[in-house]
Structure formats: C-alpha cells, structure tokens
Symmetry: C2
C-alpha cells in the first residue's frame, strides 16, 4: 500500500511527548489558577448541536464552523465553549448554587484560512461567572487572567488589558446615531471589531454600505470611527451621555482592579468590542505590550445569551484564553520552560534468568511511586547504560548473573557515576 | 425564541463539576500508573483523515465511524487511538528512541445504536509499546492494567484477563481448515469475535456462508467453533500444532505474569480474538468475574499495522481501557469515591467599604495556594454563612464595619464553629 499521509489534518497538531509536557504545564497553571479562584471544572461534548452556534450577526465564528449533517442531525465541532455552558446552565437552572463559577479547557475548532500562527483547533481556558450582574465578577475574572500570566513568569508590563463597555458604546451610539434602530447595534459591533484588521476606511465603508445592516450616513460612519479612538477613562467621561449607568460600571470596575493592584495593567479603549454578537456590557482583550501578536485572552459580559436561547435570563461574564498566542508570547520572552522527560530508574536484567527478580524490583519501586522502565529486550550492558542516559533516567539497576547470585542489583547514579549494590526484593514465589 | 434542546447530542455526556471530579480521579489513576511504568503521554487530533480507519475487514468500528466530507477532505472523528499513534510513529520513525512506550487518554467516537450503558463517545486509556517483538511487552502492559485496577480499589478476584494468541489460532486454522486461503483469517476473526454476542449458531452460519469471505464447509465451521471452547494453557498445549512458536510465546508470557504475581488473574481462552482486523499475536480482554459487563479493557499485538499503512514494519502491542465499563464495575462494587467539592475559604465583605480589604485578603490567601471564593454580590451575613456551608468551604472570613475598623476579619471554621479574629493584610495602596 502507498504510504499514508503521516501529517495530522491541515491546521491541527499532534502532541509528541515534549509537546504534551508543555501542554500539561500550561493546563496545570490554568487549573491551579482556577482552583485558587474557587472555580469548578466542567466539560461538554466536542460535537454539539449546530443550532447552538447559528446566530445571525455576520460573525466570522459562524462562517467558520465545522458543521455537517450526520444521520439526519445537524452537528458541529464546537467553535467556542460558551454556548455549551449556556446549555448546561439552562439544563439545571433551578438546581444550581448561584453565582456559578465554572471553568473548562475545551479544544475548539474553526475552519479558517491558514496563515502563520493560525490553526484550525486550539485549546482555550474558559472562566465564566453566571448569575452575578455586578462588575465584581469582571474584576475577579480579569484578576484571574493576570494571575495565570504571573504564574507563567510574565511581568506586570508584558501584557495590557484593554477594556471597553458595549453598554456605554450602545448608549452613545443610540443617542447620537442609531435612534430608533437598536437592532443595528450588534452587526455594528461585528464590523467595528475588524478595525485593526481591515482599517478605518473599510470600516467606514461597511458602516455606510446602503445594502448592509447598519446603513449610517457617511459623516455618521466617520464620527463613529472617530469615537472608537477614545482612550483612557478621562476621555470616556467626557464623551459619555450624562448620567450614564455604563460609565458608572466602568468606574466601579477600575476601582476594584485598583484594590487588586492591577489597575495599571488595564486601559480603557473604546475600540474594543469583541467579534461575538452576544456581548452586552464590559468587554476586554489582553494584548502583549509589544503589539506584535493577536489577543492573548478576551471576554466580556453576555447577559442576554441564555434568554436568546429560550431560557430564563441569567447574567453572565467570562473569558477565553487560548493556548496559541500565549505560547508565542512566552517563546518570544524566553519563558517557555525546559521540560525534559523525568524517569527515576531503568532496570536492566542481563538475560532471562535475571528477569523475574528484575520484575519484582520494578514492582517494588513502582509501588513506592517511582517511574521505572524495565528493559524489555536483550542488549549489551554498555548499550543499556547509554540508552538509560538518553532517556534521562536518574539511575540504572543492572542485574547480571553475579548480582543475581548475590541477591543484589548494581545501581549506577547516572548524574554522578556513583555505584553501589542494593538488595533485590524477593520474587513473588 | 423557542427553548433550545438543553441535552447534549444523543449518546454524549456533559460533565458537570461532580462528573468532572470523577473523570479527573480516573484519569489521574491512569496517568500515575502510566508514569510509574515509564510511559510518556501523547495526543493527536480528534478529527483525523478518514482513510486511517478505512480497512476492509467488515469490522463494526469502520461501519460506526463518524465521518464526513468537509471542504473536499474526508475526515472522521477518531473511533480509536491506535491509527493516529501509528501515523505519529511513522512520521518520526527514524528519530525515536526504541522501544517507544506511549500512552494517551483520547476521547473516541462511534456511531452505534444506543443501548443501556452504550454511548457514542468514551474516553479510553491507551498504553502502547512500539518496537519490541517479545512478549515482555505484553507482560508489562497486562501488569499496568491490573496496577491501575488495584489503584482503583478493585481486588485480585474482581477482574480476570482472558488471553489468547491469534498467531496460535492462525497456525491451527491454517493447518486444519484454511489451507491456501490465509486471507480468510482476518474476516474469520471478525466473525468469531461476535461469539458471545450472537451465539455459536450464528457464528457457524457466517463462517459457512457461501457468499461470505470465509466459506468454510459446515462441519469445519462447527469444528472451528468447538476449537474456541479451549480454555486453560493445558488444553492449548494439547490442541496446538507441534513445535508451535505461538504456543512458546504464550508459555513465556505466563511465566512473566507469574513473576509479576498476576498469573492467577489471567486465563487462556481460545475464543478471545478481538474485533479489530489488525491484531497479529497475543490478544487479551479483561472482564469482571461477575460476568455482567462488557470488557473492562482489551488489546493485543499488531505487528503489521504500520506496514499496512505503507510504513517500515514496526512490531507493536497495546491496550485500550475505557471509562464507561470500569465506572459501572466500580459503582457495582461500591468503589466509586465520594468526591465533594473542596474549597478552603469564602470571604464575605459586608459592603462596598469592606470590599478592597477583602480583595487583598483573597489575593494573599490565593498566593499561599488556598482556594478562595470572594462573595461578589450583596447579602445578609446569615445567608453568606449558610451558602459557604453549602459550598463545602472549610472557613468563612467575615469583614464588616467593626472588623474593618479593627483591621481584622472574623474567621469562622465551618466544621467546628470555632471563631477567631485574623489581621487583614494591607490593601495595595
């Protein structure tokens, strides 16, 4: 037979042992951070009802869905975790302790054009609080994201969180531009989310497109884009409608971030809206301060999602923190850890006569918690030594005819070369 | 909008926190066992090239594949892990340290008819040794499977491993029945694997089917089924061809299992062939001794798989150990652990004035490794106490105006009711 394609499907990854060790290191930091913040881990199927993702806002995420009909069902590989979480919250809405603090590390899939650093799957740490309407929840989440970055060795100046309020934007746009067309707000957010990617001119064109969903007069479209340039809370105060509740929420959030000693890592940025249609309040995105990479993490408040799925309204806020961009950033900063294989012992019986006692020794060491490779085939002691060294083992137990007759193993510490005899445990007989 | 379906797709599971804790408990035992045996963890995409699974032996696993065309590619959700592993081994065939000891805990998907206890996805602990032709590898794997069961609290008498040799079966069948039709052996194994499920008569019918791939004369079909009744190594010795290399391997395997003190948990059983076409040598399946459940784990030697995928031949042996049957067995034996949520502390600031110091306390406790829920909303102290109790917290820190003025938190140990004051850390200012 012709050789199969040995590469994984385009845009996906194999995890060889060294890749898996790095993934585990990252996941452990996410899990430990979540645990310290009192979040509980959950999971849902990677294959979901496609309808969960089928919104009508022109989002990229919907266009990029891996979906298909199978046995008369319309299914999709999850492109994001939040809809599954919403489904789970709805399934037990009457029986949960509120607010809910849940996290997960789902693999998510998007069919996108392949460009450097873009793949079609990634793992994403999701942290969500359900049932808490106040911005104390946002403060908790933003703090957790920074705590995880701290645990990875990133410094206070390496990543900035840009925060905006969709509610504030909506108040402002309604008052000044949308008037009686509130339904234009969600598609408008989807368009202005592309500002960094497609540039101001293209955004203006889309906002003013007479065949589009938004259809602003050109001067208004220009004003909207100008409004997005507002940076810093001072500026926001000036441009906000009088008595704005959304501005008060923002002010409160910054005070809470101050108490967590992370306010200097967070900036108000009116251009942050997030590409997902369902956000309703505070939105945030973290970027490397070098400005080279895509968002490290991002999230926001989505108080109307469950309602839009037919459930009883539940306020909610959460973020996703992918494994791809953070790995690029850590790599660039020299912070990706060296994670060599660890192995306590290799046991080498010279031949069949020595094997039963070698097995008994392996069992004994394993019972004590050590990781032990028992050499399975025949080889020369010299090769076994070199091979144990290559495996990164701490020590090798050599059991030849002489050792067997004396009831010992010859132990060699591979880092120091020190040697000694150790008594062999009796076999099971 | 009408309420969406809040259940996961049919045959799949959500993992609420209590389900996830149990899954983590199981995965931790698998991972720790694998670590002690010197195996390294790997992973591969859940979405694979469909061609990896497209064999022509009438296996159920091929019929039950979740596969689909997407953007001109034929893709499938993995139904088993071994083909992905084979692909990975082939991709680095020249650069690996042999033998390879790899494990993984992939989620695998099969579209099957739903019956009690059958689902369409499960997690499966896979342990594989690549590049070792001798049965020392089989002994290592069977011992690892039992070690994991021991760690779960199962007793030596709870599970029996049934072992057979496909090589021995092939030698015997060729000598007595297949003659010059060796190609009939693989489909024959697929049929006799169904013996327990469809019964001897149906197996005889399929073996003798004149339109099938096997086409034995009816008397031969009856003899083959009779041959499968052979149990115990003594009987095997009698029915094996003279000078059988396969029998010698079996004898050697049992001697190695003896040295691991697990020979009494393993029995020779000629009817075990495994449903997958690619097995070539020793095959094994573990069952609860109560005989109520499907196989707890199963595996075997598949020395020709990589060759069949177009690679350079590599001997290999491995097993899969699913999460479904073992959970049923542990449940039946009362061995599923109680895994309540653990939470070190709840911190309750009475109001906004107390919140900054409460946040500083939360940060301080979290930095010391504690899991801490900070109460996010407003409530009465009595409700906060009851709620902390319901969360399973060890203690609650109450910070009201009086505590704030004294610079302390009132700490209540929720198991004993003991109370004390503890100084609050300074805020960040």
């Amino acid at each position: 037979m012709a050789k199969i394609n040995t590469q994984p499907p385009r845009g996906t990854r194999d995890f060889f042992p060294e890749d898996l060790r790095l993934r585990t290191w990252l996941f452990d930091i996410w899990r430990e951070t979540a645990r310290r913040f009192g979040f509980e881990e959950v999971d849902a199927p990677i294959l979901e009802h496609a309808e969960l993702y089928m919104r009508k806002a022109g989002e990229e995420i919907v266009d990029q869905l891996y979906h298909f009909e199978l046995h008369d069902r319309h299914l999709a590989l999850r492109s994001e975790f939040t809809p599954s979480l919403a489904r789970m919250v709805m399934a037990r809405q009457g029986a949960l302790r509120w607010p809910i603090r849940w996290f997960g590390i789902p693999q998510c899939w998007r069919y996108e054009r392949m460009t450097r650093g873009r793949r079609r799957e990634h793992y994403q740490w999701n942290m969500d609080v359900w049932g808490e309407p106040g911005v104390a929840a946002e403060a908790e989440l933003i703090n957790a994201a920074f705590s995880a970055m701290d645990a990875m060795g990133l410094g206070a100046g390496d990543v900035r969180m840009r925060v905006n309020s969709r509610a504030l934007l909506e108040e402002t746009l309604r008052e000044r531009f949308l008037g009686d067309r509130p339904e234009a707000f969600e598609p408008l957010c989807v368009v202005i989310d592309k500002l960094d990617k497609i540039g101001a001119d293209a955004v203006v064109d889309q906002l003013a497109d007479p065949d589009g969903a938004i259809r602003l007069p050109k001067p208004d479209a220009l004003d909207v884009v100008a409004l997005l340039q507002v940076g810093g809370l001072e500026e926001a105060r000036k441009s906000a409608p009088a008595g704005s509740a959304a501005l008060a929420d923002l002010e409160r959030l910054f005070a809470l971030l101050e108490a967590y000693d992370i306010a200097d890592r967070v900036v108000f940025d009116a251009s942050v809206v997030r590409g997902l249609a369902y956000y309703t309040g505070i939105v945030f995105e973290a970027f490397d301060t070098g400005g080279k990479l895509r968002a490290v993490c991002g999230g926001g408040r989505y108080d109307r999602l469950i309602e839009s799925l037919g459930g009883k309204p539940v306020s909610a806020v959460g973020f996703g923190f992918g494994d791809a961009v953070i790995a690029e950033l850590l790599d660039e900063k020299g912070l990706l850890p060296e994670l060599p294989r660890t192995l306590d012992a290799v046991i080498f019986p010279f031949g069949d006569a020595e094997r039963p006692r070698a097995q008994a020794l392996a069992s004994s060491l394993r019972r004590s918690g050590q990781s032990v490779e028992l050499v399975l085939g025949q080889m020369k002691p010299k090769r076994a030594l070199a091979d144990a060294d290559r495996a990164g083992a701490e020590r090798i137990y050599l059991i030849g005819p002489d050792e067997l007759s004396r009831g010992v193993a010859r132990v060699r510490e591979l880092r120091t070369g020190e040697e000694r005899d150790e008594p062999l445990p009796e076999g099971p007989a």
